[in-house]
């Protein structure tokens, strides 16, 4: 018993004061990309060619689809002029798929609160059933991090539950394989109304690195309606938390200012 108490004292309190205080992210963290077409040499398609998931389009303006983006360093490394670079902005979640397609000069329209009626039912106690449907276990790993003392998801009234019957919604990861399609559909049907769906990670939004493999359905969008998109490969836990808190109105600003 004394050793338990001493260990408890040594380990200390480790919960992040989030939201309220900005989290300290690694210096090399790759968050929201910023685009600057003015720096592009004429006819250059280096970033477009380097992107493993064809998330970038050029021609007139640069455009990047954050739903496909793996937040890998390939495009920034390929660009000789710095026309594309990653910032430390971790707030990335949106309410619509189209909002993830970011054109140069636009500000990312971050997710808003649930519609009034759903918010009134789910806003203060959100129970989610997680369905892993054909990814790499990276997103799942970060979701498990949210349950650690560092992020302490429970203090916001959000909890992962063991059965879809107990849940208010699904949180889907993975590109949705042919082999998981039926299980996902049945799990969705088992959740009582009103219900929501959250797609976490490039796979669940667009198929991610497995996009267009015949074995996958390029994400959850074609199977179920999605209410929140959290891009990344995998998204940082704080990116997922930020998205969830926007959904239940605990973070309200609709735009975040990118910082370098």
């Amino acid at each position: 018993m004394p050793s338990l108490i001493l260990t408890r004292l040594r380990q200390g309190k480790r919960t992040l004061p989030f939201p309220g205080t900005e989290p300290v992210l690694p210096e090399r963290f790759r968050g929201l990309p910023v685009l600057d077409h003015a720096r592009c040499p004429s006819g250059c398609t280096s970033c477009v060619d380097a992107c493993p998931t064809d998330a970038i389009t050029s021609g007139g303006n640069l455009q990047i689809d954050l739903g496909r983006c793996l937040f890998c360093p390939e495009c920034a490394n390929a660009c000789p002029e710095g026309a594309i670079r990653f910032t430390s902005q971790y707030q990335l979640a949106t309410s619509s798929r189209n909002d993830l397609v970011l054109t140069e000069g636009e500000t990312l329209r971050l997710a808003g609160r649930l519609a009034e009626q759903t918010y009134r039912v789910l806003g203060r106690s959100l129970k989610l059933r997680q369905v892993s449907a054909g990814g790499c276990n990276g997103c799942e790993s970060h979701l498990n991090s949210l349950n650690t003392v560092v992020f302490d998801l429970g203090r916001f009234g959000i909890q992962f539950v063991a059965s879809p019957r107990h849940a208010d919604g699904l949180l889907i990861t993975g590109a949705v394989t042919q082999n998981m399609r039926l299980a996902l559909e049945k799990t969705y049907q088992a959740v009582p109304y009103p219900k929501i769906v959250i797609a976490v990670g490039a796979c669940a939004i667009s198929g991610g690195p497995f996009r267009d493999h015949p074995e996958v359905l390029n994400g959850s969008g074609s199977i179920v309606p999605v209410d929140l998109y959290v891009p990344g490969c995998p998204p940082h836990p704080v990116t997922i938390l930020d998205g969830l808190l926007r959904l239940i109105g605990k973070i309200k600003e609709s735009r975040a200012t990118p910082s370098s």
């Binding site: 050793s3 338990l4 260990t7 408890r8 040594r10 380990q11 480790r14 690694p26 210096e27 090399r28 790759r30 060619d49 380097a50 992107c51 493993p52 998931t53 793996l70 890998c72 360093p73 390939e74 490394n77 997680q130 369905v131 892993s132 449907a133 054909g134 990814g135 790499c136 276990n137 990276g138 799942e140 790993s141 979701l143 498990n144 991090s145 349950n147 650690t148 003392v149 560092v150 992962f160 059965s163 879809p164 993975g174 590109a175 394989t177 042919q178 082999n179 998981m180 039926l182 299980a183 799990t187 991610g208 690195p209 497995f210 493999h213 074995e215 996958v216 490969c233 995998p234 940082h236």
Partner: protein, 501 residues
């Protein structure tokens, strides 16, 4: 061995024509006489050989002479199975039958492992089976019942289906049916390497991004004759051991949680994140995405960053020792860990179990010692092992490895060689084969790359350690109670996506 086979090294490019092309009788005899306690089947797979034939390729790893035997044979519609005499071939032969419709005659339990349509064209193609719909072992009698779990589980876990055959609370056998994560990784690699290849390697098993990306890079560097700088090799080694530290710590926390010992569970859950954050300081991603690249690494460390990482490593190692002290000192925890989920050394050797699960049965088998590559050729990590083969052994082994990986990373930080971090990767030669082995945190990762006449991948075989070990979990559950499944499962913590590919 009955047939004199040439010995190869891990990471040695071999012209395809020097891989012995044996008759099926010679092929079987060579494998059956070779595979024993110290020689294991690292890979056995099929690839199309034209003319409605399939070429079977086997890689036998000898951990005593530290050499590989690579052999092949051509088969048509069927061949006499190996599994009856060599249980290590069980899962491999099921995979061959599923992918290529080659029937291993006499296979005792032939059924799909990933539930996809066959790759072989030209034959009468059967439609893709429905995931999980297959035969299962069954028992009959009073008080006999079946428990089915999954593919969707109660926690935040990957999908898989488990079928327990029970008598009262006692499990007679657990059968594991996977394939739900099958997303066609190997098939997508054919014709590569391309711009997506390294990303598929990093995501074929996300918690082992460093391990698999390293195995891939070492394979194509060997083929292309690319020399990787000492500095890059050190950075890769550091990343591999940080991956081990994070996952072992997370597993020990989860084991504590599964026996209801929450202090250690809470601390280890947090400390796992601290190790992941060290990798993120290095390359921006907690899983090391973007770090391992053909020719070296994508990110360097300067002196201030090394100092920062050293400080945080020491803090995390101190915290993990402190948290685990609680675990080892709690009799209630030890009572649950000891004599639970035991597998014997004989079972391990027969099934070809790898990694910490094998070392927890007293087997000295570790790629970092037996087939070292990169920095592990110069900086040896002493092999850790324990003898009891139970949940306790698999937990204790992780703690032993945490200490040794910690010491290794500390040592590397203190003596970083200078030099560039990335060398240009050379083009791949035509018609070559290379085997690349890496000791990931779950065990032996085996990649086999085979190039075609144009120097592109004709075939790319990935064997995740979980592919060897799922059967070990099934054996560990025999004569246990259903309620001990979470504990036994976590003590192996196998990968679904790495198996399903």
């Amino acid at each position: 061995m009955a047939i004199g086979l040439s010995k190869f090294h891990s990471g040695e490019p071999v012209p395809l024509r020097s891989v012995p092309d044996l008759s099926i009788a010679e092929f079987r005899a060579a494998i059956l006489s070779a595979v024993n306690g110290t020689r294991s089947l690292a890979a056995l797979f099929g690839m199309p050989a034209g003319d409605r034939h399939v070429r079977l390729i086997a890689v036998v790893a000898d951990s005593v002479t530290n050499s590989l035997s690579i052999l092949s044979t051509k088969v048509g519609e069927s061949y006499p199975c190996l599994t009856l005499e060599c249980p290590q071939a069980h899962w491999f032969e099921r995979e061959i039958a599923e992918q290529w419709q080659v029937h291993p005659d006499g296979h005792p339990w032939l059924k799909p492992i990933r539930f996809h349509a066959p790759y072989r064209t030209g034959n009468s193609i059967s439609p893709a089976p429905v995931a999980g719909v297959t035969d299962f072992f069954a028992m009959a009698g009073e008080e006999v019942h079946e428990v089915a779990v999954g593919p969707v589980h109660a926690g935040i876990i990957e999908p898989g289906h488990f079928r327990f055959q029970c008598h009262g609370e006692d499990v007679f056998h657990l059968e594991i049916s996977l394939g739900y994560q099958h997303r066609g990784v190997e098939r997508a690699l054919v014709g590569g390497p391309g711009k997506r290849t390294i990303h598929l390697m990093e995501t074929l098993c996300g918690d082992t991004s460093i391990g698999h990306a390293t195995a891939y890079c070492e394979a194509i560097e060997a083929l292309g004759g690319t020399a990787v700088s000492a500095r890059a090799q050190v950075l890769r080694g550091v990343a591999l051991e940080l991956e081990r530290l994070a996952n072992h710590t997370g597993d020990l926390g989860a084991l504590a949680g599964d026996v209801g010992y929450l202090p250690a569970a809470a601390y280890c859950g947090r400390i796992r994140g601290n190790f992941l954050n060290l990798t993120a300081e290095l390359c921006g991603s907690r899983f090391g995405r973007g770090l391992i690249r053909p020719g070296g690494v994508g990110f360097d460390m300067d002196k201030p960053l090394i100092a920062k990482l050293q400080e945080r490593l020491e803090a995390a190692l101190k915290d993990v020792e402190d948290a685990l002290g609680l675990l080892w000192d709690a009799p209630s925890v030890q009572a649950r860990f000891e004599h639970t989920g035991t597998i014997t050394r004989e079972t391990c050797e027969a099934l070809g179990i790898v990694g910490p699960a094998a070392r927890a049965c007293g087997i000295e088998r570790d790629i970092r010692q037996d087939f070292p590559s990169g920095i592990f050729r110069f900086a040896q990590i002493p092999i850790s092992k324990w003898h009891s083969g139970d949940v306790f052994a698999r937990a204790w082994l992780r703690w032993l490895e945490i200490q040794r990986s910690g010491a290794f990373v500390r040592e590397q930080f203190a003596s970083m060689p200078d030099g560039p971090i990335l060398s240009p990767a050379g083009p791949l030669p035509a018609d070559h084969l290379v085997v690349s082995l890496v000791e990931g945190w779950r065990g032996e990762i085996c990649h086999v790359a085979i190039t075609d006449a144009n120097g592109r991948f004709a075939h790319y075989k990935i064997v995740d350690p979980s592919f060897h070990n799922w059967m070990g979990l099934a054996m560990a559950m025999r004569n246990e109670q259903v309620s001990d499944f979470p504990l036994c499962n976590k003590s192996f913590n196998l990968s679904y996506c790495g198996h399903d590919l």
